[in-house]
Symmetry: C2
């Protein structure tokens, strides 16, 4: 099965205690696509400026990513500059230049419209709603958002959330969105809005998947060398959606496995800057780390 993803394509400048890089490949749709591309064909809708290097385009097309929906515009590509302190848990945005992304209007190519799996990466919720109007009854729609939209367009976020099957956000956002400190209560509120599944990302501690009648906890993978957490959430979503599209089965069993594959992809991604860790990563390593997650959480019944 193919996945449609709509999100950002960016040139990031990132500083962490372990290094500093300028104008490297980034953006939510890119992290998602490369991670999900291990499992399924990806249909990308995003936009880049005329300064976006051809090598990045080649990287995407070489990795199962269809770029017929990638808009190329006159002007500069979206740029984000951020810094992480030693705990690596929080990004401090130093500069954001929207550039061509400011006028981004997602146009879903005809060939993409019947995609069964749709991921709305973190973009303006108005655009997320606009995408949903263009697609034909997909089997699964997941979306992400961020504190900026929760603060500035809470009602529009709400409208988008009501229309998706899976919401993937972080702990702070779940609390902010529902004005509820307790995560289990926050999850109930969100599930009552429409989604049948809520995934709450806990940073280095893992992720929780809440459904109507079950909760699943996936641990964070303990790593000794984390270079750059940028894109962890989108890599997670990529592994999660990718595995679901691959199996094309939405039973609890597969959703749980998908959460682990999401955690696996996020754990690889943060081991290097930009998408570097995923450039030469063989699929066997992904399955090997999946097994490591099993070892990490395994304990005997009574």
């Amino acid at each position: 099965m193919s996945i449609l993803v709509v999100g950002s394509t960016a040139l990031d400048s990132v500083e962490t205690p372990f290094g500093k890089v300028r104008d490297i490949l980034g953006g939510s749709a890119v992290y998602f696509s490369i991670a999900a591309g291990y499992f399924a064909n990806i249909n990308l809708v995003a936009c880049v400026g005329d300064d976006f290097p051809q090598e990045h385009i080649d990287f995407l097309t070489n990795r199962n990513v269809d770029i017929r929906g990638l808009q190329r515009k006159d002007g500069k590509t979206f740029r984000w500059e951020g810094r992480y302190d030693s705990n690596l848990n929080e990004a401090h945005t130093l500069d954001t230049q929207l550039n061509v992304f400011e006028e981004f209007k997602p146009v879903i190519p005809e060939e993409y419209k019947s995609c069964e799996y749709v991921f709305l990466a973190n973009i303006d919720p108005e655009l997320q709603l606009d995408v949903l109007k263009q697609v034909k009854s997909p089997k699964l729609v997941a979306c992400d958002t961020m504190n900026f939209w929760l603060e500035n367009k809470p009602d529009v976020v709400r409208k988008a959330v009501e229309k998706v099957d899976v919401l993937i956000i972080n702990e702070t956002e779940a609390r902010q969105f529902t004005s509820e400190c307790n995560l289990k209560k926050a999850a109930k509120k969100i599930i009552s809005m429409g989604p049948n599944t809520l995934i709450v990302k806990l940073g280095e501690h893992g992720a929780l998947m809440f459904r109507e009648s079950s909760i699943f906890f996936a641990p964070g993978y303990p790593l000794e060398n984390i270079l750059d957490p940028t894109g962890a959430g989108d890599s997670f979503a990529g592994g999660f959606m990718g595995y679901l599209a691959k199996t094309d089965n939405l039973k609890e069993r597969y959703l749980r496995q998908a959460v682990i594959f999401g955690s696996v992809m996020a754990s690889f991604n943060i081991e290097d800057f930009s998408l570097n860790r995923m450039r030469d990563l063989p699929y066997e390593d992904i399955e090997f780390r999946y097994k490591k997650f099993k070892e990490l959480t395994d304990f005997k019944d009574l």
Copy 2:
């Protein structure tokens, strides 16, 4: 098998967003004893003042706790006053009155000295070392500590840690103790000091057990109603040590199960103020929640 525990006995005053209580039963050794008492006989060494209510003594003796090592002194019992904000993750100490605890010198009764399992709750590391001089080659010694000792007596904490098998501390303390932000690196440093096992408590997100050649991640149990997190860490240690003493087996398999029992006891403890949740809690409920932990983390192999 019996467990020797040395720690504090206190009358706590606690305020959380869900209520306020004054002079209620508390103290690290008490939380530990009541939790561990579900699994094993407990030998308690602690001290109380002449104001310590007889009903608390009765509660302990009714729950497998031998109090021949409980010193009763003229003066007031140790008092701690704290407040938790809405996220419940951090205790703000409002007042500490050491009272009789200031002069506490642990004296291990002859009958306790051959205990195979020893837990050194969070007390002055000099006293922890002093206890270790009094006991006869136990099979397993675990200890806790806190930021206050890490700041004020780091060398003494280090000496105590070198002598124990299991160190149980929280995430912030692990980082502080090793000056290492990365938890896996911090764990390596601590294990190189002497303990064969390090348990890092992650608050509501669970706990990580690091050993020479394995890592185990136990989730936090998602609860809708958390009234008071006081004593969660000591209840965890109680469930962990209690189960180990019960099975009297230190193989990885049992250590992992013990971490889950620790998490189970902590999850019950925080559902009410003081030790109230453990007053009428039947053992079957503990096993039932253990099974819930299994459901919470279970996923299929590839």
